[in-house]
């Protein structure tokens, strides 16, 4: 009989049973999770995997049966993914993100955070100085639609009114705030996304946003309302502006490690540092969400200046504390 003399046929006949057993286990584990395997099977799995792997290696060099080689390739890959997967449940994964990954990712980009804060403050100071000097500069920094009547020609009374909601207005305002929340979070996300364009647009975006804030401050300062504006801004701004700055820093981190990949090659550097940056940006989405809620509710409900300052500053301290001291120890013990 021919089959007795074809070596690859004998090779297959001797091992086939183990392959099918491995396939059966993998199939069940893929479908319903590792729990469906008995303890003997769990013990057997790595051995069967190693066996299939070595079969594959041999089959590639001696067998011309395409189906067998392709089958082994697929089987080995499936078993590999099963054995080399992190068996974290969704809950554990999210908990790990909040408790560990996010604060450590923020700490990892601290140099970029310094840069983004510096650029933002630079924009703020420049615009503040210019508008104080000459109010005509105001609309160079703040677009008409964003200003919404808050302009140099407005009277002190008009500006003051904008800072404290009248009871009748409250209803419309909070839906508006939720809308605004999406606006500002988009600025943040964009600052991050533009980091891929080697970071320069990110710096520009941070600078212009700082300038916009500076122009606002200068306008209210010239009308003697700086303290009141501060309260209006800080209650959600401490969260929101921090998030914009973090997004910008994350974008800069991507750009930096793409331009200077260091000991990695570019793709590896992007994969390693980009992952951290994206986690920071994801944290920022949550922060923008919190800021939106603060803007929609807290600002309408809290109208006393010092309470606004107290809330805003307390939140800021909480964020800083979380990012500084959170997740110093890896809870699961395995690296990213």
């Amino acid at each position: 009989m021919v089959s007795q003399t074809v070596k690859s046929y004998q090779f297959r006949a001797e091992r086939q049973e183990k392959w099918t057993r491995l396939e059966d286990m993998v199939q069940r584990a893929e479908k319903d999770g590792m729990e469906t395997l008995s303890s003997t099977e769990i013990f057997e799995l790595p051995h069967l995997y190693k066996g299939a792997l070595s079969s594959l290696s041999v089959a590639r060099s001696i067998s011309l049966d395409k189906n067998v080689v392709d089958y082994l390739e697929a089987l080995v890959a499936r078993a590999y993914f099963l054995l080399h997967s992190q068996q974290r449940t969704v809950g554990v994964a999210f908990k790990r993100l909040v408790v560990y990954s996010l604060p450590s990712a923020v700490r990892a980009i601290r140099q970029e955070i310094l840069v983004s804060v510096a650029v933002f403050i630079l924009g703020l100071i420049a615009a503040f100085m210019l508008v104080i000097e000459n109010p005509d500069w105001y609309f160079s920094f703040v677009s008409q639609e964003l200003a919404q009547g808050r302009q140099p020609t407005a009277s002190v009374e008009e500006l003051r009114e904008g800072l404290y909601p009248k009871p009748a207005e409250v209803k419309d305002l909070d839906i508006f705030a939720t809308q605004l929340f999406t606006h500002n979070s988009r600025v943040g996300i964009l600052a991050f996304a533009l980091g891929f364009a080697l970071g320069l647009p990110t710096i520009w975006l941070l600078f212009t946003n700082g300038a916009m804030l500076g122009a606002f401050l200068a306008l209210y300062h010239s009308k003697g309302l700086l303290y009141e504006l501060g309260g209006w801004l800080i209650i959600h701004g401490s969260t929101e502006i921090s998030a914009i700055l973090l997004c910008g820093a994350a974008g800069l981190a991507v750009a930096r490690h793409y331009i200077f990949p260091g000991k990695y090659n570019r793709m590896e550097a992007l994969a390693h540092f980009g992952k951290q940056a994206a986690i920071v940006a994801f944290g920022c989405i949550i922060m923008f969400f919190a800021a939106g809620i603060l803007e929609g509710f807290a600002r309408q409900l809290v109208t006393s200046d010092w309470l606004r300052y107290a809330t805003g500053l307390t939140l800021f301290a909480l964020w800083v504390g979380y990012f500084l001291f959170g997740g110093r120890a890896d809870p699961s013990g395995d690296g990213a």
């Binding site: 074809v6 297959r12 001696i62 011309l64 990954s101 964009l190 992007l270 980009g274």
Partner: protein, 302 residues
């Protein structure tokens, strides 16, 4: 579920799309990249499910509060529901199903780590966070014109940039989107190939020959290499009527090439081809053991 598997096994492997990942054991593992069309299909399915969920939850909230008096609390709850589905739908499934979402399961795709490490939860968060930029911002631009949150020249710049990110999978050989790039992931076709009967064994069972009906000489066998052998294998495994025709054409071509003189009756064609396959495979595998691999019919190195 079953339907998908059949589709998978029938589609031939595309050699150009194979990528190697080195296992810790030192044996490279070959995986086929997910095709762009399949991935687009998977995203469409997922987005449809996601918007379905958002609409369903909006209707549910509407029912609870009463549509007429929906009020601001109802609206805020709907916005919240939309926020959660949009941000967590993909993350939830990719974490739970080890790199698959309902859409990816349907299309037979899977997310893996590009460097062969386990797919970490961090990578899943990172690659799906990027969807905000790759899907939702462009969608906002199409729907409302100004969804990037900036104006003037910056808006144009942002628009061009977002467009570039969206088109990124078309611009690299691994079909990586921005999310894959920064998370260090890659989307591959779910490996799923069934073990078929060995052609050698099949012949024996089918024909049950005592003495070989066709005898081939060395000259007959020298005509072809591994590539032709495996093409013949694929042809012989094809049981459709179309395969019958292909075999008839291939059979004539082979007989002409090897100079087979005796006419083979039409009913015996398959027997002839399997017999030829068997002997050719035995010969080529014998050469393999001696370290000689005749790649195809043009490979005539001694």
């Amino acid at each position: 579920m079953k339907k998908r598997k059949d589709k998978q096994t029938k589609r031939p492997l595309n050699v150009k799309n194979l990528r190697e990942i080195m296992t810790p054991e030192g044996v490279p593992m070959r995986l086929e990249l997910g095709e762009r069309g399949d991935r687009a299909g998977a995203v469409m399915i997922d987005l449809a499910i996601m918007f379905g969920c958002i609409i369903a939850s909006a209707v549910a909230i509407g029912l609870i509060f009463g549509f007429s008096g929906l009020g601001r609390l109802g609206l805020i709850l709907i916005l919240l529901a939309a926020f959660f589905f949009r941000n967590f739908y993909f993350m939830f499934f990719e974490l739970r199903w080890q790199g698959q979402t309902p859409g990816k399961r349907r299309m037979g795709l899977k997310v893996i780590d590009r460097f062969g490490r386990p797919l970490s939860s961090e990578a899943v968060f990172a690659r799906n966070m990027m969807r905000e930029i790759e899907i939702f911002i462009p969608m906002g631009i199409v729907l409302s014109g100004n969804a990037v949150g900036v104006s003037g020249l910056m808006q144009l710049f942002a628009f061009i940039w977002v467009l570039t990110l969206v088109c990124l999978p078309m611009m690299n050989k691994d079909n990586l989107r921005a999310g894959d790039l920064i998370a260090g992931t890659m989307v591959v076709r779910e490996p799923r190939i069934l073990l078929a009967t060995d052609m050698v064994e099949k012949t024996e069972r089918d024909t049950n020959l005592k003495a070989p009906e066709f005898v081939f000489t060395q000259k007959h066998l020298a005509a072809y290499g591994v590539y032709e052998l495996q093409t013949l294998e694929t042809l012989l495994r094809n049981t459709s009527p179309e395969g019958q025709n292909k075999r008839a054409v291939a059979g004539r071509a082979i007989m002409k090439k090897i100079g087979w003189v005796d006419p083979v009756p039409t009913g015996k064609l398959d027997v002839f081809l399997t017999a030829y396959y068997q002997v050719l495979r035995k010969k080529l595998e014998g050469q393999l053991l001696m370290g000689k691999r005749k790649q195809d019919k043009f490979d005539n190195t001694k």
